[in-house]
């Protein structure tokens, strides 16, 4: 009870707590929507690769001393997403190798830049907070929140508008293409939206943990549900609940926000796996 009162107090008295909630839940929602498609298309690793690229870009932005880092981070990540998708079709360097190459490269360059041109005295602190999210979600300004809301609305609108096409392209690309759906265009759209989400989510969970936000809710939902729509809905619900619970717990027990959310997602995943196994056992 005491904790609840404390939480309510935070919520009423500190606008940054409210901001954190709005941003956290929106990002979690967006990530889970796209997550189902990415997992099913075997693109989970692209999320991971892109997040490293975003880290590298963030380092570049920090070195150049830009106040609005998005100007660099967003275009660079989107561009890498497009590049990664193109190399997926190219046979010279296989898709997975290309992703590994770009992601590790970006990570190395980012870390080196941050060390060579330190923008603050606490380099390891900077690096750590970029990688693991730290508490930056609790220091959001109104403009950050506005940007996040706008991007989230765009992502959700795109998803709703192209829901059926995204399904078709995910399920069977060659059929989609043959029946006149510009499959490559939709792949590009998926890549661009993914990179937008990753850049957004860097604030919340940091660049190393973003993949968790994308894949865990989708994987959990797939344990139990058997139609595309129910999987999407369930994954969105799981993701939002976990993000909410994660933020609350992290405030109450002063744990890092990002990792708390990811742990919440993991718990749900194991729970769902267990339920699925019990159900499967009783059926067989």
């Amino acid at each position: 009870m005491n904790n609840l009162a404390k939480l309510a107090d935070y919520f009423v008295n500190y606008p940054f707590v409210r901001y954190a909630f709005v941003v956290g839940l929106l990002i979690a929602l967006c990530a889970s929507l796209l997550g189902v498609t990415l997992v099913l298309k075997r693109f989970s690793f692209i999320g991971d690769g892109l997040s490293h690229v975003a880290f590298g870009a963030m380092a570049v932005a920090a070195v150049t001393g830009l106040t609005n880092k998005m100007i660099i981070v967003l275009p660079v990540t989107v561009l890498s997403a497009i590049l990664l998708l193109r190399t997926g079709q190219n046979t010279k360097i296989k898709g997975d190798a290309a992703v590994a190459m770009i992601s590790v490269g970006a990570l190395a360059v980012g870390y080196m830049l941050m060390n060579v041109f330190p923008s603050s005295s606490n380099i390891s602190g900077d690096v750590c907070s970029t990688l693991f999210g730290s508490t930056s979600i609790l220091t959001l300004r109104k403009s950050d929140v506005a940007l996040c809301v706008v991007m989230a609305v765009i992502v959700i609108l795109m998803f709703l508008l192209f829901y059926h096409k995204i399904f078709a392209v995910t399920f069977d690309e060659s059929f989609a293409q043959a029946s006149g759906i510009p499959a490559n265009g939709y792949n590009l759209l998926i890549a661009v939206i993914t990179s937008m989400i990753i850049v957004l989510a860097m604030n919340l969970v940091g660049s190393l943990l973003i993949s968790a936000l994308i894949i865990f809710p989708a994987l959990s939902a797939m344990r139990l549900f058997r139609s595309f729509r129910s999987v999407i809905i369930c994954s969105a619900v799981i993701s939002v609940i976990c993000a909410g619970a994660g933020i609350i717990l992290s405030i109450l027990f002063s744990t890092p926000v990002g990792s708390t959310i990811v742990v919440a997602d993991m718990v749900v995943f194991f729970l769902f796996s267990l339920i699925a196994r019990c159900k499967g056992g009783s059926k067989a």
């Binding site: 099913l40 298309k41 075997r42 709703l160 508008l161 192209f162 829901y163 059926h164 096409k165 399904f167 078709a168 995910t170 399920f171 069977d172 060659s174 059929f175 989609a176 293409q177 043959a178 029946s179 006149g180 759906i181 797939m222 549900f225 058997r226 139609s227 595309f228 729509r229 129910s230 999987v231």
Partner: protein, 235 residues
């Protein structure tokens, strides 16, 4: 008998590597054409050309690409895909919907009608990955019919099915053919091709080896040779 596809001296492949050339054949409505050939003989490239996904290097292929319902080979992604049968069949209608984000009543009705025709109406709410191989192929057939009502292009549709399911699927396809739908099937199965198809196109080592009716094929030198080898080596 209107001509639906005309292929005149077409060469297929990539800029510097021709996979198959001198292809000449026609497909009229109601035909059942079976395309035979070894692996690597250019069958799948020919299919892509017919679907309009890959233009021919030279020659001429006249056909309405959008009017072909395609049954591709199963991919790894599909085996554990969480989707209901209804969702999949309806997605066949998407090619014509442009940017419209939802299905119209007519499209839903069309999907229902196709499921009825293929006898999978009661599976509508089931999950695709829980179905048997034969049922899965019916679902994909229904989807292909939603995309195009008068011509189907099937890519080795019986691969991976047990013999009984293979026969059922062949009968199903033959029934669709009798109802007036043109069938083009890429296959390894010479015996089935001769039993069901009206026309045979055989391609091998970069060129067209045979085109004609199934009866002509049985009496042709190449057909006899192919049959004597039992078609075993084309696997």
């Amino acid at each position: 008998m209107s001509v639906q596809i005309t292929c005149k001296d077409a060469a297929l492949g990539y800029e510097n590597r021709i996979v198959a050339e001198h292809l000449n054949f026609t497909v009229s409505s109601g035909d059942y054409l079976c395309i035979l050939g070894e692996n690597g003989s250019g069958k799948s490239t020919l299919m892509k050309a017919l679907l309009g996904l890959k233009p021919q290097v030279s020659g001429e292929i006249i056909c309405a690409h959008q009017g072909i319902g395609y049954l591709p080979q199963q991919t790894v992604v599909q085996r554990d895909f969480p989707a209901s049968v209804q969702e999949i069949v309806r997605s066949g209608c998407l090619g014509k919907s442009g940017l419209r984000p939802f299905y119209t009543k007519e499209e839903k009705a069309l999907a229902a009608q196709m499921m009825q025709q293929l006898g999978i109406t009661e599976l509508a709410k089931r999950c695709y990955r829980d179905l048997s191989g034969g049922q899965q192929q019916r679902v994909l057939l229904a989807r292909a019919l939603c995309a195009a009502k008068n011509m189907l292009l099937l890519d080795e549709p019986v691969t991976g099915l047990d013999p009984r399911a293979q026969n059922e699927l062949y009968e199903q396809i033959a029934a669709l053919n009798r109802s007036g739908i043109t069938i083009i099937m890429v296959s390894h199965d010479v015996a089935a091709a001769l039993q069901y198809a009206s026309h045979i196109l055989q391609i091998g080592s970069k060129q067209q080896l045979f085109y004609g009716t199934a009866d002509e094929y049985k009496n042709s030198r190449i057909g006899k040779a192919f049959l004597e080898s039992g078609g075993a080596e084309i696997e």
